[in-house]
Every structure is written in structure tokens, then in C-alpha cells.
């Protein structure tokens, strides 16, 4: 076997897309429509990517349910959710283009739930002022990925009709992991990886590469993420010379399952709350009213009566506090549990049974009903669920240009969770699926244009041989079992870099991670190369190490609390930090951190907000220009 096994399969294309989730597939559609030859690499089977886990919906200000909704409102909500740390241009493009991207899916065959007028129905979600999430029950992610998967197949069918060959211009290579990117002179030229099935290597020459690899959640013990989420794209980008931003911001979804232990972390959709569910502690108290932060006081109800009234009369009542952005709810749950008011198994109660009738629950939340029944023996139509925070999403990622999704390395693009900036310090539910579509399309489009400009790429034998040697190293090692090392890494992150952080703990985390590094470098794999999960994990571990380092370092540096980064020793937001972005790069194998000042928001963007709101987040110099735009005379008086 060894001779054929060491032969490297050589491929080439114009646009190589790493990742076959929503962003990757949307990018593939766009690049193929631009006439490019495209290869999509899927770490698992085609159509199984983590996007299928998304439940609630795709946020797009179509205004189908409440006609007052528009891109400006969506944009404002996104910035509030991200505590104004967002790349405003990305958030703007996202809010503007999301409706078109969702409508487009219908032309690919998607079947969303409908309004009585026959339009796409939209549901309420945390942080969104109006019902905004296009959805299909609570399995929207599945609909999205299946639709895109089928769109790819239909493009292949077009190619087959024209050329007789399905894979003439668009090829999906499944169960394949990329381990290296090849670069020279600050530009990418291709990638190297292995096929899981056989363990055989492949090298793909491509002048343009789109990273769409998702997140890093597998580095945490309690997570809603699957085995694939090992930060591959983040690490590939770092090693290729690109930079990561905002790595300290990790979203803990407030509601993951907590019992039984084997399902701890599995997601319980926010739609449960959007559709009427409430959170209670062990004393039966609806505790979220005690946790509405100052910046959100105006938008959220302060009594159960008002909160309940909102579901039927949103114009005259404020929103229930259960629908605060995820970071707020997760912290509140964490604090209730720490104060001894948690549920039997260390969570809180999420109750929809007493609030909605069984038929409604089963219709709106079929997979939650199924999930709890099958996995926890809980009937959510008659009993409350036990829930607690679970690692869900990383806001940080590859630093990209908002309009083109291009990183600082020529030819390297990133879209979806692997990119950073769009969501600021905290992502709103529903903004992920729309993010995938908006920036997946842009990445595909601009990657195709880049390929057009730069022409074909070529790879050298030496760099391929070196990448192969690196990938085979675990078989030579006498080191530790990768599963034990992964558990050790998860334990460090879970214990010291979790939902609530302290400088001392983060320093400890860095020491422990440093101690793990040589062990990870020496990790050993046993057995053969064909479908060997131990080997695969051994290779993934180094990516997880890099991401964990970047997160811990950035978390230590940022001594304030904002969104998905809460420092117990530095509570509250600091306006100076709002305009400061932490950038991670890799230099000589070490993660380096530097501060970067965020681009100031232009006047027309600032004008979308009330000055009083801007004042909660910004220094006066930053928002005074908005005053002029909004109300020139008053603004000048306010200026110092």
C-alpha cells in the first residue's frame, strides 16, 4: 500500500474553496457562475457541514411580517448586538444584501415557511427589533445547506449537458482535510491535504482560495460544535501570513442541553424563546428581568405583563428580556447557577410547556421536541427543559476587506464564521446564516475575479514533500494519545478561558497551553492511514492549539467586558477599547498580538443612531460628528 499511498494526487483549479458549509457552497455557486473551474473541499460528507445545525433562521430585513423593518433597523440591531465593535461596513453590506440572498434561495428550490400572503414568514429572535428570521420550523440550517447542495448539483448537471462531464467546472471532494496552504511572495498558490477514506494526499494548485471552514468550538469541552470545528481555517490563515482579529470574543449560546451528560452542550434553539419560552430558576422566578443592562433598558420590558403583551402587540409593549442578545442571557444564566439557584443538573429551566399549547410547540419546534424526547426523556410540551450555556460561535476570525472578503494575503479570501469583524463582540442569532450567504457570495465573486487577474498557479515538488512529511509525523511519534491531549486542551479552555474570565486565570491558561504545546507537537497516531480518526485528530490538534493561544492572549490583553468577552476583574465597557481591535499574527511559530484602531464610522452611519445611544458606547469625539449630521445646531453645542 505504501507506494501508492505516498503518491500525491495532483489537481488544479481557478478557485479552491475550503469548507462546504453555507459560505463555502454559496461561494462555489458564485465562482462557478463567473465561469471559473471550482473545487470544493468538504471535511465531512457533502451536505453534513455544521450549517445543518443552525435552527432558528436567517435574518433578513424583508419586512414580510412587520413592514417597518428595513436594512437600517437590521444594521442598528447588529451593531447593538456586537456592542459597536463590528466592522460597520460588513454589517452594512450584510443588512442591505441579506434579503436578496434569501430570495435567491427560493429560486434554487428552498421552501421557507410562509405568511398568509404567501411570502416568506419571519420569526422573532434575540436582539432583533422586528420578526426577521426566514425559517423552516427549527431546521433552517438544513434547508439552507440542502438547497445550496442541490444548486451545486444543478450547476453540475448544466455542465454535463454542455460538456458531457459533471465535474468539468465544479467538483466537490468530500471527506478531505486541508493541512497546509502554499504561498509565495505574499500570495497563495494552492493547498495540501488528505482524503480520509484512503489517507492519500492531494495537492491542489489554485490562484484563489476561499476559506469557509467555520469555527473553533471543538477546543471547548461543553460545545454545540461538531468534531470538524477545530479552527482549521483560522490556523491555515495564520500560517499563510494572514491576520486574525477579535479572537477573544467567543459566543456561549445561553441554551445548551445540560442533561444527560453525554448530550451536554447540544444546542437548544433560541426560537424556543422567540416563540414564547421563558427562563426560570430553581425558585420558579423569571429571573431575566433582573439582568437587563443599562444600554438595553429602553428596548426591553420590565414586567412580565408587558413582556407577555409584546408577543401579540409589539407596537405597544417592549420585548421580553429573554430575547436579549445571547451574551447577556448566557451571563445571566451563569450567574443564577453560581448563586445556587440553578436546576438539578446545573442549568436553569426553559419553559414553553406552560406558555403554549402542545400543538403549537410541536408545529413550531419539531426538532426540539424530538431531541428532548429521544435524548433526555423530556416532553417539552409538558415539562420545562434544563439548559445552560454552551460554546457556540467564534466572532473572531480572519481579518478581511469588507467588500471583497479578501485577507491580507493575495488570493486568500474568507467567509462565514472563519472571517472576523462582521459580528463585533457578539453575534445576533440568525445573523450567521445571512452572513454565510452575503459574504459567501462576495468571496466567490472576488475570488473568481482574482483568479481571472492572476492566471493559473503551480506547485513545486519540495513544498509538497515537506507538507506530506509534516502530515505523516504523528505516525513516527512515541508521544501521547490524541484523544487525551484534546481532553486536556478542552479542560484548560473550559476552566480558564470560558464564559467569565480573570487576568490571573488567563495567565494560568497561557502557562498551561504552553506546557501542552510540546506534547501536542509530539502526539502519536497508531494504525494505518485509511480512515483513521486518531491520526486526523492528531493533525487537527495543532490548529486547535494555535486558536486557543490566540484566544487566551487576546482575552488577557482586553481588560474590559464586552459581548462574548467578560472579565470579572474588568467589568463594564470602555469606549477606548471599542475602537481598538486586537490583531493576532504568527511570527516564527509564535502568536503575536497587536492593537489596531478601528476605522471611524462615517457620518451617515453614525446618523442612524440617536446621539444618546452612541454616547453609551463611544468617546464624545467619535459621535459628535453624527450630531452635526443629525441636528447640526444642537450638535455643536454638545461638542466640547
Amino acid at each position: 500500500m505504501s507506494e501508492t499511498a505516498n503518491e500525491v494526487e495532483r489537481l488544479s483549479c481557478d478557485v479552491l474553496i475550503i469548507g462546504a458549509g453555507g459560505a463555502g457552497l454559496r461561494a462555489a455557486v458564485e465562482a462557478r457562475l463567473a465561469g471559473k473551474r471550482v473545487i470544493v473541499i468538504s471535511k465531512s460528507l457533502f451536505g453534513k457541514a455544521h450549517t445543518v445545525m443552525a435552527e432558528g433562521g436567517a435574518a433578513a430585513a424583508m419586512g414580510n411580517v412587520n413592514s417597518r423593518d428595513n436594512w437600517q433597523v437590521h444594521f442598528r440591531d447588529t451593531l447593538r448586538g456586537g456592542k459597536f465593535l463590528n466592522n460597520y461596513r460588513m454589517a452594512e453590506l450584510h443588512a442591505k444584501e441579506a434579503p436578496e440572498r434569501v430570495w435567491e434561495l427560493e429560486t434554487y428550490g428552498a421552501l421557507f415557511d410562509r405568511t398568509p400572503e404567501g411570502k416568506i414568514s419571519q420569526r422573532n429572535f434575540g436582539g432583533h427589533e422586528y420578526p426577521r428570521l426566514a425559517h423552516v420550523g427549527d431546521r433552517t440550517g438544513l434547508e439552507l445547506i440542502r438547497t445550496l447542495q442541490q444548486k451545486l448539483v444543478s450547476l453540475q448537471q448544466d455542465d454535463a449537458a454542455e460538456t458531457g462531464e459533471f465535474e468539468e467546472r465544479l467538483r466537490v471532494i468530500d471527506e478531505t482535510t486541508i493541512t497546509e496552504l502554499f504561498t509565495s511572495d505574499g500570495a497563495v498558490r494552492g493547498a495540501f491535504g488528505y482524503r480520509r477514506n484512503t489517507g492519500r494526499f492531494l495537492a491542489i494548485a489554485a490562484p484563489a482560495i476561499v476559506l469557509a471552514t467555520g469555527g473553533i468550538g471543538r477546543s471547548f469541552k461543553v460545545t454545540s460544535n461538531s468534531w470538524e470545528y477545530t479552527g482549521d481555517g483560522h490556523a491555515l490563515a495564520l500560517r499563510a501570513g494572514a491576520s486574525l482579529i477579535n479572537m477573544e470574543f467567543i459566543q456561549f449560546h445561553p441554551t445548551g442541553m445540560v442533561w444527560p451528560p453525554s448530550v451536554r452542550g447540544i444546542l437548544v434553539t433560541e426560537s424556543v424563546r422567540g416563540d414564547g419560552g421563558i427562563l426560570k430558576n430553581s425558585e420558579g422566578k423569571r429571573f431575566m428581568f433582573d439582568y437587563v443592562p443599562e444600554v438595553f433598558k429602553g428596548q426591553y420590558a420590565d414586567s412580565p405583563e408587558e413582556a407577555d403583551g409584546w408577543y401579540t402587540d409589539p407596537d405597544h409593549n417592549r420585548r421580553p428580556p429573554e430575547l436579549l442578545p445571547r451574551d447577556e442571557v448566557a451571563r445571566a444564566i451563569n450567574s443564577e447557577v453560581k448563586s445556587g439557584r440553578g436546576s438539578e443538573h446545573g442549568g436553569v429551566y426553559l419553559d414553553i410547556a406552560s406558555r403554549r399549547d402542545a400543538e403549537y410547540i410541536i408545529k413550531k419546534l419539531p426538532s426540539m421536541h424530538h431531541q428532548f424526547k429521544e435524548l433526555a426523556d423530556v416532553d417539552i410540551t409538558s415539562e420545562p427543559m434544563e439548559v445552560g450555556p454552551t460554546c457556540h460561535y467564534v466572532m473572531g476570525g480572519v481579518e478581511v476587506d469588507a467588500d471583497t472578503a479578501a485577507s491580507s494575503v493575495a488570493g486568500l479570501f474568507a467567509a462565514g464564521e472563519v472571517s472576523g469583524g462582521m459580528h463585533g463582540s457578539n453575534r445576533l442569532g440568525g445573523n450567521s446564516l445571512s452572513d454565510l450567504l452575503v459574504f459567501g457570495k462576495r468571496a466567490g465573486e472576488h475570488a473568481a475575479a482574482h483568479a481571472e487577474r492572476s492566471g493559473p498557479a503551480e506547485l513545486g515538488e519540495d513544498e509538497i514533500a515537506s507538507a506530506a512529511a509534516t502530515a505523516l509525523r504523528p505516525f513516527e511519534g512515541e508521544g501521547e494519545n490524541p484523544y487525551e491531549l484534546q481532553a486536556a486542551l478542552q479542560a484548560v479552555n473550559g476552566r480558564l478561558v470560558g464564559i467569565i474570565r480573570r487576568a490571573s486565570e488567563l495567565e494560568e491558561a497561557l502557562v498551561e497551553l504552553e506546557a501542552l504545546r510540546p506534547r501536542v507537537a509530539n502526539v502519536a497516531a497508531t494504525g494505518g492511514r485509511a480512515y483513521n480518526p486518531g491520526w486526523h485528530l492528531a493533525l487537527d490538534l495543532r490548529n486547535m492549539m494555535l486558536c486557543s493561544m490566540a484566544t487566551a492572549k487576546a482575552a488577557l490583553e482586553r481588560d474590559e467586558s464586552r459581548g462574548g468577552h467578560t472579565r470579572e476583574d474588568a467589568p463594564g465597557m470602555d469606549p477606548q477599547w471599542r475602537k481598538t481591535i486586537l490583531v493576532s499574527t504568527l511570527e516564527d511559530g509564535e502568536v503575536r498580538l497587536r492593537r489596531q484602531t478601528a476605522a471611524p464610522m462615517p457620518d451617515e452611519i453614525l446618523a442612524l443612531f440617536e446621539t444618546s445611544e452612541l454616547a453609551k458606547y463611544m468617546t464624545p469625539e467619535e459621535y459628535q460628528s453624527a450630531d452635526r449630521a443629525e441636528a447640526p445646531e444642537a450638535g455643536q453645542e454638545d461638542a466640547e
Binding site: S44, L45, G47, K48, H50, V52, M53, M62, E100, W103, E106, T107, Y108, G109, L111, D113, R114, P116, G118, S121, V136, R139, L142, E143, R146, Q150, K151, V153, S154, Q156, Q157, F166, N197, S226, W227, E228, P260, P261, S262, V263, L267, S367, H370, Q371, E374, L375, A376, N481, P482, Y483, A525, T526, G527, G528, A530, Y531, N532, P533, G534, W535
Partner: protein, 255 residues
């Protein structure tokens, strides 16, 4: 916590055998947890395919005590204390290693299935569909492509030679989904199902429905309505008579 005996098939396309593992099992665990424990503690290279571990992605299909199941949705309390649990790969597809099989048959069949055809002259954003009209197709779109139905269907499970002419239940519900889609512009879904996909091979013994983890009524709501559409086209005496008398075009049956 207790110790159970697991018998797991290990091998590849050149052969293999059942390997016994004594392994710890905790309250509330599913078969996939136990397989992972075997992997972490006893056999690091045990090949198993999985992703979401919540019954949403359809990756961890295998046969547990002979029944096709998702390992992540098969709870250990289904088995008696002391009962040996046998886990084997899907039988219908070529084995890659251990519990992992090559399911590309299903993807090839999917590629032969004509895609959704958007209606002409309807711009994106202008699609109008009523909820009652999309519900039937939505049921089929719940499919997570675990391919348990394809694996269980005796047409290909017990008769390898039927693989070329037969697409299987997963693709029959895809055909039904498009035939019932309110805006699909194609009118030949039933012909494709009968002539290209081998709908006639199905003898509606319903094992696909029995093993579907999404509880899709594959047979009653998908396959049989497709068979009925074909019958309406080719075998219904009243339809035939009506056409003779009114010289109606076939397509007018689209309502």
C-alpha cells in the same frame, strides 16, 4: 455506571470480523458515546463517521443489533443490562473501514435527478406560495440524508444488481418533493420517477419508513403518491376516457 460488552465489526474491503470490547457505560448515553469511549481508550483508529451528535446531520448511520439506526439517537437504555450490543456498518454500501461505508451511490443517484426548475418570469422575491401548498414538500425536505432508508431497502440491500436501475426511497421523496412543489416548472417528474428512477421496483414493504429517524412518511406520502401519479397517467380508466372524449393534453392534469 456499568460495564457492557460491545461487538464492533472491524475490517475493510479485504475482510474483517467482530471485535469484542468491554466498555463503561453511563446514564443517559447513546451508542455513539460508547463507540467514542472505545475509540478514546481502546482503539484510537476505530473508524466511525459522525458530526452533530444530535440527529441533525445523518452521518453516524450504522446497524445496531441488526437494525439500521443513527448511533447518536440510539440510547443505551434500549438494551437490557448485560445484553451484548452488536454494531456493524451499513450492509448495502461498500465498506471503507470499520463502521464507515462508501455512500457515494446515493450522491450519484442524486446527480441524475433533474434539479428544481424555477418558474419563468418570476423574479427572486416575487415567489408566492401558500403554507398548505408547501407543507407536503417540506416534509420531504426534513430528510437529513442519513441513507438508512437506502440501506434498508431490500431492492438494493439484497440485490446488488438492482443498483443501476433503482434510485431508492431517498430519491423517490425528492421526486415527490418536486412534483408537489407549487412552483417547479417541470412537468415530467412522474415519468422520471417511473422510467429513470425505477419506482416500479418498490414493493412498498415500508422498511424505509420504519427506519427513518426523521419520521418522514416516505411510503404513504412520497412513494405511493408518486405511484398514483404514474397510475393516473398510464392506468386510470377515467383519465383515459376523459382524454379520449375531451382530447385533453396530458399536462392539463397539473392543477
Amino acid at each position: 455506571m456499568s460495564t457492557r460488552t460491545f461487538r464492533v465489526w472491524r475490517g475493510d474491503d479485504e475482510g474483517g470480523e467482530l471485535a469484542d470490547f468491554d466498555v463503561e457505560v453511563n446514564e443517559g448515553e447513546v451508542v455513539l458515546d460508547v463507540i467514542h469511549r472505545i475509540q478514546a481508550e481502546q482503539a484510537p483508529d476505530l473508524a466511525v463517521r459522525w458530526n452533530c451528535k444530535a440527529g441533525k446531520c445523518g452521518s453516524c448511520s450504522a446497524e445496531v443489533n441488526g437494525m439500521p439506526r443513527l448511533m447518536c439517537m440510539t440510547r443505551m437504555n434500549l438494551f437490557d443490562e448485560g445484553e451484548t450490543v452488536t454494531v456493524t456498518p451499513l450492509r448495502t454500501f461498500p465498506v471503507i473501514r470499520d463502521l464507515v461505508t462508501d455512500v457515494s451511490f446515493n450522491y450519484e443517484k442524486a446527480r441524475q435527478m433533474p434539479a428544481f426548475a424555477p418558474p419563468e418570469g418570476v423574479a427572486p422575491g416575487e415567489y408566492r406560495m401558500q403554507q398548505v401548498d408547501v407543507e407536503r414538500s417540506q416534509e420531504f425536505r426534513k430528510c437529513i440524508e442519513c441513507f438508512l432508508c437506502q440501506n434498508t431497502c431490500h431492492v438494493v440491500r439484497d440485490h446488488e444488481e438492482n443498483k443501476p436501475p433503482f434510485s431508492g426511497p431517498r430519491l423517490f421523496i425528492r421526486a415527490a418533493e418536486l412534483a408537489m412543489h407549487p412552483l417547479d416548472a417541470r412537468t415530467d417528474r412522474r415519468e422520471t420517477a417511473q422510467d429513470e428512477q425505477g419506482l416500479g421496483y418498490c414493493n412498498i414493504t415500508k422498511c424505509c419508513t420504519e427506519v427513518c429517524p426523521e419520521h418522514i412518511h416516505i411510503t404513504d406520502n412520497g412513494i405511493i403518491p408518486m405511484k398514483e401519479r404514474v397510475a393516473g397517467d398510464r392506468y386510470d380508466p377515467l383519465v383515459w376516457l376523459g382524454r379520449k372524449i375531451f382530447r385533453k393534453d396530458k399536462k392539463s392534469e397539473q392543477a
